[in-house]
């Protein structure tokens, strides 16, 4: 049997215009005047989001797509789901495609839950008879029966998400594409969704393409994974193998990095080793949300008298720079260093980061002198996980706990009357 998806030499090129992708009529009109006057045309930069992708996917396979931001993961799904056309190559899709690039697409706050099921279902490609048949199952799975006939604007965001995922989980296309759906929602619901997805792909022979930054989900759900890097397919294999290549090559290393004989740096200072440690000194990469994360760097100063600043950049899984930290409260800060080996640990407090995956970049520099002795990107990788025991910023509240960070703040409440 021929593969359900055949991708041949697929590529997608975008034009990078200096400002926005769309134009203003004003600019076109004024621009054409300018072009008459001047012959030098503004150069638009071309950029390949995807290049030379060849891939066969058999029916029933669950493919995880891994890669850093901008590697082309979403572009690939968008081409297969026909949202955007490719620039080169072709793809043959032998089956209906259900795309779930974001749950709840087309949800309207003024319509009731039930009405939104019909609307969203038909947008996702379900026929009305199929929705009729599945309605009870959809409502049941979502767990929002009581509110199903009230307008969606009265639903909490968690309830909207449950409803949306529930519709999506009952899609019956041969190929289902999912992009980052499970990044939100509470743990219980995520487990339910994972179970459902495993069930549909195993019993229904459904083919699933799954894009996520959450490597645990990829390993749990998929039977194959592909790794994209700068728009090219660099590896295809078992999730375990591809995930570890991703961690090794793209992120270089996870929990500990020891450079041995080839350390980054110069003849003034060299970085010997970085690692992640818990408060009891154990090297690890999976931290609980109510645990402090220690980033340790060992470095060797080779010349006396230089003023060295130490710093880390912390990025979340979307590539957002959450914060930078410098060793400002250390006695060595802004002092001339003596030759020798040093170890510095930066502690990210417990109950500060939200759950998710994080990357650490490390630098030794002096901003005042505009010198960067070394700046190693993505040297460490760790995850922060939900816990249900102990004190967390979530307190008693169930469901998705939004926000980039999740600190416990000091609340001063007094009774006034």
């Amino acid at each position: 049997m021929s593969p359900i998806i055949e991708i041949r030499n697929l590529g997608k090129q975008y034009k990078l215009t200096p400002s926005q992708p769309y134009m203003a009529l004003r600019d076109v009109i004024s621009g054409s005047f300018r072009n008459i006057l001047r012959t030098d045309k503004k150069q638009t930069e071309l950029f390949w989001a995807l290049q030379a992708i060849n891939l066969d996917i058999e029916q029933g396979e669950r493919i995880g797509i891994i890669g850093r931001n901008g590697a082309g993961k979403s572009t690939l799904l968008k081409i297969i789901s026909r949202i955007t056309p490719p620039t080169t190559g072709s793809a043959i899709i032998r089956g209906r495609v259900g795309s779930l690039l974001e749950v709840g697409t087309g949800f309207h706050p003024e319509l009731t839950g039930r009405e939104n099921i019909y609307l969203n279902g038909s947008i996702l490609g379900l026929k009305k008879v199929e929705i009729n048949r599945q309605l009870d199952a959809i409502v049941d799975f979502s767990g929002v029966e009581k509110f199903i006939d009230s307008p969606l604007k009265h639903f909490s965001s968690g309830m909207q998400l449950r409803l949306a995922f529930s519709v999506a989980a009952h899609l019956e296309p041969e190929i289902l594409m999912i992009d980052e759906v499970l990044a939100v929602g509470d743990i219980e619901f995520q487990k339910k969704c994972l179970g459902k997805m495993e069930e549909v792909s195993k019993t229904g022979g459904r083919t699933i393409l799954f894009v996520s930054h959450n490597l645990n989900f990829i390993s749990a759900l998929c039977n194959k994974a592909i790794l994209l890097k700068d728009g090219r397919l660099v590896n295809l294999g078992s999730p375990k193998e591809v995930v570890s290549e991703y961690l090794n090559s793209v992120i270089k290393k996870g929990v500990n990095k020891d450079w041995g004989i080839n350390p980054p740096g110069n003849n003034i200072v060299q970085l010997r080793m970085v690692q992640l440690i818990s408060s009891d000194g154990e090297t690890k990469e999976n931290f609980d949300v109510n645990e402090s994360v220690g980033i340790q760097m060992n470095y060797e100063v080779l010349q006396n008298g230089h003023i060295l600043w130490l710093g880390h950049n912390i990025y979340n899984q979307e590539g957002l720079n959450i914060f930078d930290t410098h060793n400002v409260d250390s006695p060595y800060y802004n002092q001339p260093s003596e030759k020798g080996c040093y170890s510095a640990i930066a502690w990210i407090p417990a109950n500060f980061l939200n759950t998710g995956s994080y990357f650490v970049s490390t630098a030794i520099f002096n901003h005042a002198q505009k010198i960067v002795h070394l700046h190693e990107r993505d040297v460490l990788f760790f995850t922060v996980n939900e816990v249900f025991e102990g004190v967390t910023a979530r307190g008693m509240s169930p469901g998705d706990f939004p926000g980039i960070i999740r600190p416990i703040l000091k609340w001063e409440t007094v009774k006034l009357k």
Partner: protein, 274 residues
């Protein structure tokens, strides 16, 4: 399973994509249903809005042009004359302005799901048609109150007028919708263009009052004039000015072809732009 084979390739050539539109007819229905439902759920007066607007305009124009400036529209009484023109004009202008903005309004769906994009402006036009049918009911009530005589040919001419308006609105609306995606400041010109077209339409005056025949023919390029001419014929009993109809139908066809062609040519890239 063989039924669902899709070939994905860089876009080339031009096709109407009618077969695909038919496959997605249920989505078309749901979009239209959503827009009608939401429109009338959000307003306190609901469906009354569709009726109050033309009625209010009718009162104002009757006062101005029938009582003050005494425009002669015999044998049609002026309130009936202007109400008929207004509901047909509203069908055109609401269709065009809603269809024109529809792609931007639905950008979040366009960015995430594939479906024939033509569904979106078309469903905007159907929502306007729904308003028009409400308006037509009011028109019938008024025409009974005023005991306006009418020929039985209305059964043919009124639907023909509506069809012509819809086709013209479709062409203009899809063209504007595509332009709006590409040039974000185009939307600001739409109200101005419609305002201009309103005064170039025989809504508040009959085209016969225009003295210069060349100007009459220029105005006939505006498709709404031909549609209103057809609409009023069964009430006026005077012969239809065939040249106006011919010019209007021709320009409607040209506008629709341009609009549809431009829309189909650019739609593949809407998700990259929106």
């Amino acid at each position: 399973m063989e039924k669902f084979i899709t070939h994905i390739q860089p876009p080339k050539g031009f096709s109407l994509g009618l077969k695909e539109l038919w496959q997605y007819r249920e989505l078309f229905y749901f979009f239209t249903w959503r827009d009608i439902k939401v429109k009338y759920k959000q307003t306190y007066l609901g469906i009354l809005w569709a009726l109050l607007q033309p009625l209010g305009m009718m009162v104002i124009f009757t006062f101005l042009f029938s009582k003050t400036w005494k425009i002669d529209t015999t044998p049609i009484q002026y309130p009936i004359f202007v109400l008929g023109g207004l509901i047909l004009w509203n069908l055109f202008s609401v269709s065009v302005s809603h269809a024109g903005e529809s792609m931007i309004r639905n950008a979040n769906i366009i960015n995430k799901i594939y479906f024939p994009r033509l569904i979106i402006p078309c469903s905007s036009i159907l929502v306007a048609l729904f308003d028009f049918l409400m308006g037509l009911l009011i028109f019938i009530v008024f025409f009974l109150i005023y005991k306006q005589p009418v020929s039985w040919t209305a059964i043919l001419y009124v639907p023909a007028a509506v069809l012509l308006t819809l086709i013209a609105a479709f062409g203009t609306g899809t063209f504007f919708a595509a332009l709006n995606v590409k040039y974000r400041d185009f939307r600001y010109t739409i109200p101005f263009l419609l305002q201009f077209l309103f005064f170039a339409s025989q809504v508040i005056y009959p085209l016969q009052v225009v003295q210069q025949s060349w100007l009459k023919y220029v105005l006939a390029v505006n498709p709404v004039n031909a549609a209103i001419e057809l609409f009023r014929y069964p009430f006026s009993f005077s012969p239809v000015d065939m040249s106006i109809i011919a010019i209007g139908v021709t320009s409607t066809m040209i506008i629709s072809l341009i609009g549809l062609y431009y829309f189909r040519k650019t739609e593949a890239y809407f998700a990259d732009l929106a």
